[in-house]
């Protein structure tokens, strides 16, 4: 069993599930940002992954 210190030092956080947040999945929040991301994808695409990282 991990100690509290080991748990707190993890990069991956402990996340509590809250079903009340489900409503935000369908909500178009930050839509202008999503539109901008789509435009960037359309015009620029994705980067090439460096060979040493594959």
């Amino acid at each position: 069993m991990k100690t509290i210190k080991e748990l707190n030092d993890k990069k991956i956080p402990i996340v509590r599930i809250d079903n009340s947040l489900e409503k935000y999945k369908a909500m178009p929040i930050f839509q202008d940002k999503v539109d901008k991301a789509n435009e960037t994808l359309r015009t620029i695409g994705l980067p090439k992954i460096p060979a040493k990282s594959q």
């Binding site: 947040l21 940002k33 994705l46």
Partner: protein, 146 residues
Amino acid sequence: MNLPRYELKAEKSLTVFEFTSEGPKGQIPKIVKFSETTLKGFYNLAFGDKNLESGEIDDTIVSNNGDSEQILATVVSAVYSFTESESEAWVYATGSTNSRTRLYRMGITKYLDEITQDFLVFGLRDNEWEEFKKEIEYTAFLVKRK
């Protein structure tokens, strides 16, 4: 990267997170959302203040609660959590203003050595993606788990 960060809660697919900023301006709830774009596996990361009365989210408001580093550390931990379940996802982010984009760049720069242990990190400059380098003004960022 063991920085102070706020506790996170999320819905079960780990695409919407919430945490509460605490400081001189009181408790300010914040929402972080990973929204899939038209390209499957490519997500936009955004976060903003939740209005407790209306439930609306505002990513342009300046809260000035004195905890920007802790907020960024918390958002980074949400990225770790999200990409733990979506390990092939690309995560795109840019600020709602130029000054916010610069703040994010400074945060990435500060912890670049730690971040690149786990992520490929790219910056957008002159309409081209390149591997993130310090001291370069990028207009957007893209990360992917290694």
